[in-house]
């Protein structure tokens, strides 16, 4: 659906995006992740055929964003950052205007507008002037606008920013359900969001792609994708020595000795990438005859993965 090859975009000497390549396949929901100023918005603007690329080949649905720009624009629904809208129009009027502008056949306009109003929960404000709506409603009008011409692909620049928790959940659910029929590329700062919605994450930093994988695989990058936390009755030093002798163990460290119960200590064990330690560790504990009263797996979060990838 999207094919980006060696895209570079620079304005007045500053290279916002440097030589990036990626693909988004039909039916995927891809999250675009990165710190502020990483080049997310620039990339999305290039994909939406708003900014022409300085160099490289960008194709959306098989059309070149420069040569067949109108074909590209007809096939995508783009929701820009900060959702610019005409504040003097009514919601209904605005959506009809946008549907017409995007070339929806006149007999279908009413039906499409009704559909997106239903999807985005805008029925109760349809007669209101956009300038008087709250941020959350405006965000939803923007989303409705992006979908009004029934595009094959949606490009959403921070769709949940500025919404309250309830609205965030509603928008997430909406995006997820849209993902069944549409290809979606969205950018966000909220990592848990990406984890919940996206099949794949592209992490971009300082204009370059740092990683592109499923959220689960990305988490594996972080210190073996998780650690075991154990609470044992034994001397901490012996325990650490025994664990570190195991081949799959990367590192073991004492978290703390229980102050009210000095015989017990908490130990954290990190695995080497791709290894599951649970069986081997338990075997050691049994062999040594230590008392074990807790063993839990601490999962690496996408946040940790993100920070680690960005820092490299």
């Amino acid at each position: 659906m999207i094919k980006v090859k060696n895209l570079t975009k620079s304005y007045s000497g500053f290279r916002a995006v440097q030589d990036i390549s990626f693909e988004v396949n039909r039916g995927e929901i891809v999250g675009f992740l990165g710190p502020n100023g990483a080049g997310k918005t620039t990339t999305m603007r290039v994909l939406a055929a708003y900014l022409p690329p300085t160099d490289g080949d960008v194709r959306v649905a098989g059309f070149d964003v420069v040569k067949d720009t109108l074909q590209v624009r007809r096939r995508i629904g783009y929701m820009p950052e900060n959702v610019p809208l005409y504040h003097d129009m009514r919601v209904d009027e605005f959506l009809r205007f946008r549907a017409r502008l995007k070339g929806t056949a006149s007999r279908k306009i009413r039906e499409r507008v009704e559909t997106v109003k239903g999807l985005c929960d805008l029925k109760e404000v349809e007669r209101k002037i956009i300038g008087t709506l709250s941020k959350g409603y405006r965000q939803r009008v923007g989303l409705a606008d992006a979908m009004v011409h029934d595009p094959e692909m949606l490009i959403l620049d921070e769709p949940t920013i500025g919404l309250d928790p309830k609205q965030i959940i509603a928008v997430r659910e909406l995006i997820k359900s849209l993902g069944e029929h549409h290809t979606i590329l969205l950018s966000t700062h909220i990592l848990s969001e990406v984890e919940m919605i996206c099949n794949r994450v592209i992490i971009i930093n300082r204009g370059r792609i740092e990683a592109s994988d499923s959220p689960d695989n990305l988490k594996k990058v972080v210190r073996g994708g998780g650690a075991l936390l154990l609470e044992l009755r034994a001397a901490a030093a012996t325990v650490i020595e025994k664990f570190e002798a195991l081949t799959d163990v990367d590192d073991a460290e004492l978290v703390k000795v229980q102050p009210d119960d000095p015989a017990w200590c908490r130990i954290q064990v990190f695995a080497k990438p791709g290894c599951d330690l649970r069986d081997t560790i338990f075997a050691v504990v049994r062999k040594e005859g230590w008392d074990l009263r807790e063993m839990s797996r601490t999962r690496a979060t996408l946040e940790e993965a993100f920070v680690e990838i960005i820092q490299d």
Binding site: Y50, P52, L70, N82, L85, L101
Partner: protein, 252 residues
């Protein structure tokens, strides 16, 4: 064509949804009415010919109003879109730059024509109430309107261009006024009694004098040269505007 029509309707909506439009309309018809009353007085007091009665309408107030309207009408066309960020929304829809320029341009042109209808209504009143005493010179009036349209087209195109250069409406208005006023004053140069240059050169320069054009047309002298001049200048300015929008995307 459909796209231009859609954008044009939106443009008209945005003009008439704001109270400013009605204020401008009221102010314009007030000034036009005032100027008309003044010229009626002249007509009653002196032995004026019918053509000079029309020309009395084209005095200082006429030009002041015309030049003052341009920035008021055009300042928000593109500046507002830049400031609100809505230009991004427009240019990511399947809209070509020239369609956007034309739609906005026709929007302000329509409003401009609307602002000059009270003059026709005033003349109709004159005709209706004076019977045969003051026959209204319809052909001259028609040509006078044609010239007004041509000058307006050119000046409005300049105003829209200035608006597409900045996101600040005030800057757009000042730029438009300065450029249009300078053009007008420059075109007065060959008419000035102090013009010291070569006589032939002066006559040649007269071809570009806006005031002279209006004078000729309101006297009933049709000349195709100014028509071609203003039409081509308008098209050129609109073309520059379209190029500017394209260039802006490459650099912003």
């Amino acid at each position: 064509m459909m796209t231009i029509w859609t954008l044009y309707r939106r443009e008209m909506g945005s003009i008439f949804v704001s109270p400013v439009a009605y204020l401008v309309m009221a102010a314009c018809s007030l000034i036009q009415g005032f100027s008309f009353a003044l010229h009626l007085d002249h007509l009653n007091a002196q032995q004026e010919t019918r053509i000079s009665a029309l020309q009395a309408n084209l005095g200082f107030f006429f030009w002041l109003l015309l030049l003052g309207q341009i920035p008021l009408l055009t300042m928000r066309t593109f500046s507002e879109e830049y400031k609100m960020g809505t230009i991004e929304m427009l240019l990511t829809a399947p809209v070509r730059e020239w369609e956007l320029v034309l739609a906005k341009y026709f929007g302000v042109l329509t409003f401009f024509l609307l602002l000059w209808t009270p003059v026709i209504i005033n003349l109709l009143f004159l005709y209706a109430f004076s019977g045969d005493h003051v026959p209204v010179p319809w052909p001259q009036t028609g040509l006078c309107y044609l010239m007004l349209l041509l000058i307006g087209m050119f000046y409005l195109a300049i105003g829209v261009l200035m608006s597409s250069m900045t996101r600040n409406q005030i800057v757009a208005a000042v730029l438009a006024f300065v450029v249009v006023l300078s053009l007008f004053l420059l075109s007065l140069l060959p008419l000035s009694p102090w013009f010291g240059g070569d006589r032939e050169f002066q006559l040649w320069l007269m071809n570009f004098s806006t005031l002279q054009h209006m004078w000729n047309f309101s006297n009933g002298i049709f000349d195709s040269r100014p028509v071609v001049l203003y039409l081509s200048l308008t098209l050129y300015v609109l073309f520059v505007n379209e190029r500017l929008l394209v260039a802006r995307r490459h650099t912003s």
